[in-house]
């Protein structure tokens, strides 16, 4: 069934069950998403997609609209929130884009530029996070992990067993790689895990900077262009 909502005052028709992000896209309004992957259920972990639904700030990727809903995405205070959430992620880890293999194809980096983040508004923490280089094919660079949990919820081996888990709580939360399960993954499954990580935390060893500057994912088409044509990843 179709329902009608307004996005920044513009009426649009969407299917029942559509999210705030879907409605925004239907209206041609860009709301950045980061942890959301179009092929999977919304995780709602990163909170970058802050938008307003009937006066309340929600995560656009997971909040559903109803008939007559009023959605706001472009308001200045919402843009500031999104920029600050992205800035928090940069301040919390060690994001050395100039030397990162994921640069140019990193969702966090691409979304940060769209929110207008020039430098984080929060003090950079420069945490000392241990990397896990122990696997034959996967390099887990925790410096860049934003704890989106895509890998934890979505990467499985042929038996359905998880490969990545979370340990610790609060600021000590970190991703662990199960080396035994990881060893049983096919090369394609490893490549899929690398691609699934929105940042450069899960990397394939021995590949490195395989795409030249200018030909990388977001050099070719920006994350905004992709989102507006419905490619949410």
């Amino acid at each position: 069934m179709s329902i009608t909502v307004t996005v920044d005052g513009v009426p649009v028709t969407v299917e029942e069950g559509a999210t705030v992000a879907d409605a925004a896209t239907a209206a041609g309004a860009y709301v950045p998403t980061l942890c959301f992957h179009e092929d999977h259920p919304a995780l709602g972990t990163c909170r970058v997609c802050a938008a307003r639904l009937d006066g309340r700030v929600v995560a656009a990727c997971s909040a559903e609209v109803h008939d007559g809903a009023e959605v706001e995405v472009a308001a200045d205070d919402l843009a500031t929130m999104r920029r600050q959430v992205v800035g928090l992620l940069f301040a919390e880890g060690n994001h050395v884009c100039p030397s990162c293999e994921k640069s140019g194809r990193c969702d966090l980096q691409a979304v940060a530029a769209e929110t207008g983040m020039l430098t984080s508004e929060f003090p950079y923490r420069y945490p000392g996070r241990e990397t896990d280089p122990g696997d034959a094919r996967i390099w887990l660079a925790r410096d860049r992990c934003i704890l989106c949990q895509r890998c934890v919820d979505l990467v499985r081996d042929d038996e359905g067993r998880p490969v990545f888990t979370l340990t610790g709580r609060g600021p000590d939360t970190r991703v662990e790689l199960d080396h035994a399960t990881a060893a049983g993954l096919s090369d394609e499954q490893v490549a899929a895990a690398v691609d699934l990580c929105p940042v450069g935390a899960i990397l394939r060893k021995g590949v490195g900077y395989d795409e030249p500057i200018g030909a990388r994912r977001f050099d070719v088409a920006s994350v905004r262009e992709r989102a507006l044509r419905g490619e949410r990843r």
């Binding site: 060690n94 050395v96 003090p123 950079y124 420069y126 000392g128 905004r224």
Partner: protein, 207 residues
């Protein structure tokens, strides 16, 4: 120790500027640049403006730059471009001098914005870095007493490499490692024509 101090470059005698030059500069915007703890790459992006520099120089005078290596700004300056983060006491002093003398101060490049590559030492710690470089160095001269250099003329390192805006107020930020020549041009062109600096997303890069 003041009697031992060598003359700094801005205290050395210099040829007076001709009246014609002074007249030609009158009414132009003054711009100063400096490299703190950076690699000069951002300043090279400015040089990369190539022929676009020439019309800009009809509107702008570059008073102090990394190319002249004058340490101090004489008088007031409209715009200061700061490359590099803050990694030692001399960086702090120079940055404060720029803040005092410039109306608008711009952080240029990853190092100025968040410490950049030099800030990789932050998560390791200064003691360990110095020990690796000087005490346990594989290239140390055999038989020499391992020494960490310490001398009044060598600026002391700060515990962590800091972004400029954690030391003084910065008015604008230009990301990139380095920012492209187009991004530097966008800033200088806006400043020269009295427009607010507003970097388009297409020129916002962190690498």
């Amino acid at each position: 120790m003041s009697d031992d101090r060598r003359d700094l470059s801005h205290e050395l005698p210099r040829t007076p500027v001709s009246e014609a030059t002074v007249a030609a500069r009158r009414g132009k915007l003054t711009v100063a640049t400096i490299s703190l703890c950076g690699c000069w790459g951002c300043n090279l992006s400015t040089l990369d403006l190539d022929e676009r520099l020439l019309p800009l120089l009809d509107l702008v005078t570059i008073t102090r730059s990394s190319f002249t290596d004058l340490k101090r700004i004489a008088g007031r300056c409209d715009v200061g471009l700061v490359e590099g983060g803050v990694a030692n006491e001399e960086n702090i002093e120079t940055l404060r001098h720029f803040r005092e003398h410039c109306d608008v101060l711009v952080s240029v490049g990853a190092c100025a914005l968040w410490g950049g590559i030099p800030s990789l030492r932050n998560s390791i710690g200064l003691d360990e870095c110095l020990a690796t470089a000087y005490l346990d160095s594989p290239t140390a001269v055999p038989g020499d007493r391992p020494t960490i250099p310490l001398h009044p003329e060598i600026p002391r390192l700060t515990d962590r490499v800091r972004p400029c805006h954690e030391v003084v107020h910065m008015d604008y930020f230009l990301p990139g490692c380095p920012p492209s020549n187009d991004a530097v041009f966008a800033v200088l062109d806006a400043v020269a024509h009295g427009r607010p600096i507003d970097l388009p997303t297409s020129l916002t890069h962190y690498d």
